[in-house]
Subunit: 275 residues, 2 copies
């Protein structure tokens, strides 16, 4: 990121004994900035604070943090804000810290929203580990995603889809996956693996509001290949239709386009495409 | 740690965009220093470089690193050296770095070797995730161990034993586990979860040399509870007999004591106890 604030102070250096580095003991959020506003900031903070509660990470006072993030976002027109919360510096070893002094950092980067175009994706061989204790959380332990993303260099392939050890679909390296079959929307549950994406949550809410039957549950590779529509989501892209996976091709379908239009109404302008 | 060197320079600050912090994208070693020598340094470097190869992390020139670590260890009599290798700083996102500039850091801390005493252990509810891509490696993604260790405060309990989703024993939060049944030594394999400990490797070598039949394979909770002897190992403690787990109690047995004596011969003085 171009600029960082660490515990409210401009800077980009952290102590090497910070638990975020030594043990991946922390969480992060990736937030889109559009028109100088941190989009869905409250939903991002909801997830961060829920995650902090699960990890017993002491979180900073929310109203104050929210105000600081909003003020920071106002400094750029369009870009990305990264928010990091770690358990802070501590001695060697896994023994719980007597006095936790969490590190709260946020970074800003100018970048343009990507265009709405169907993407090509592939399967990854790297599996996503299952663990209900951390499933759903956007923890700093992302080595699996790094290794999965390193499986291909072809720039025409935008994403890789990961399964768990049981062969169930988990998500893309940096997105959630939705499939549409017989008009019904299905996305992998995040109780045993995967990340509970903010945009995923928005999409499920919008689907409910639009009367689209939706489920969170197991999704097999076969179910995905048999689906009428496939799309991915994250906080920066909103919805992106999947156009090709190996030999299988799809056109953006009616449910994908309906949900994308809903997102446009909510300010996710990058979903405004030709359906 | 008391002191750190980062890329050869004294200091303890790292860039917040270091992949070690943002994604847990790195490895570490915990090395005992005894009589100003980094014990089993070559075995630690073997593991580090093998891990770096698996993660495609560019590692520093080995002879030079070895010389620097040896020189650093000579600065204290007895303690711990922590060695960290990360993919270095990089932009946001999982896309492989065009130019990797790894971060190599080592830290030193004076501390006395612990005494040889049978320990009390417990079961952890937190499971150890299974993933063959990272299994065996001592990666910076250790949140599962942090959460498992946070399950108890009782200072009389020295370790917690973790299983995987299938109920197979993986290891302690910070150690490998060995059981002895009918004179045979068994330790969980590290092909799907767990860490390939340096002391574990030494013990398996010593067992072979001593004519003790040994296996790496699946170990169930029941097999552990039925075992004649149970002990744990890591680089700092050598071997430590398990004296109690719940209601089950053990005395240090002949195989444990024979292996501990072998380790004493190799310089693991903290295994010199009353058997």
């Amino acid at each position: 990121m171009e600029r960082y604030w660490i515990n409210g102070v401009p800077g980009r250096l952290v102590d090497i004994d910070d638990r975020g580095l030594t043990y991946g003991d922390g969480l992060f959020e990736t937030i889109a900035i559009r028109c100088s506003v941190a989009r869905f900031l409250d939903l991002h903070l909801d997830r961060l604070y829920a995650g902090a509660a699960r990890l017993k990470l002491p979180a900073p006072e929310r109203d104050s943090l929210r105000a600081q993030l909003s003020a920071a976002a106002a400094g750029i027109d369009e870009g990305v804000m990264k928010l990091i919360l770690t358990r802070g510096p501590g001695p060697r070893g896994y023994v719980p810290l007597q006095h936790q002094q969490p590190t709260v950092a946020w970074g800003l980067e100018r970048c343009r929203a990507q265009r709405w175009t169907p993407i090509r994706v592939r399967w990854c061989e790297t599996i996503a580990g299952r663990n209900p204790v951390t499933a759903g959380l956007k923890t700093l332990c992302r080595l699996e995603q790094v290794l999965a993303r390193a499986e291909w260099q072809d720039e025409l392939i935008a994403e890789g889809f990961m399964c768990d050890e049981q062969g169930q679909l988990v998500g893309g390296t940096a997105c959630n996956i939705f499939i549409v079959s017989g008009g019904r929307l299905l996305t992998p549950s995040v109780t045993h693996a995967g990340i509970s994406g903010v945009m995923r949550r928005v999409i499920l809410q919008q689907a409910q509001g639009a009367g689209i039957e939706s489920y969170e549950g197991p999704v097999t590779k076969m179910a995905l290949l048999d689906a009428d529509e496939v799309f991915v989501s994250n906080a920066l892209i909103g919805i992106r239709p999947v156009g090709q996976l190996g030999e299988r091709q799809w056109n953006p379908g009616p449910v994908t386009c309906k949900l994308a239009a809903k997102l446009v109404d909510l300010g996710v302008g990058e979903c405004a495409g030709r359906c």
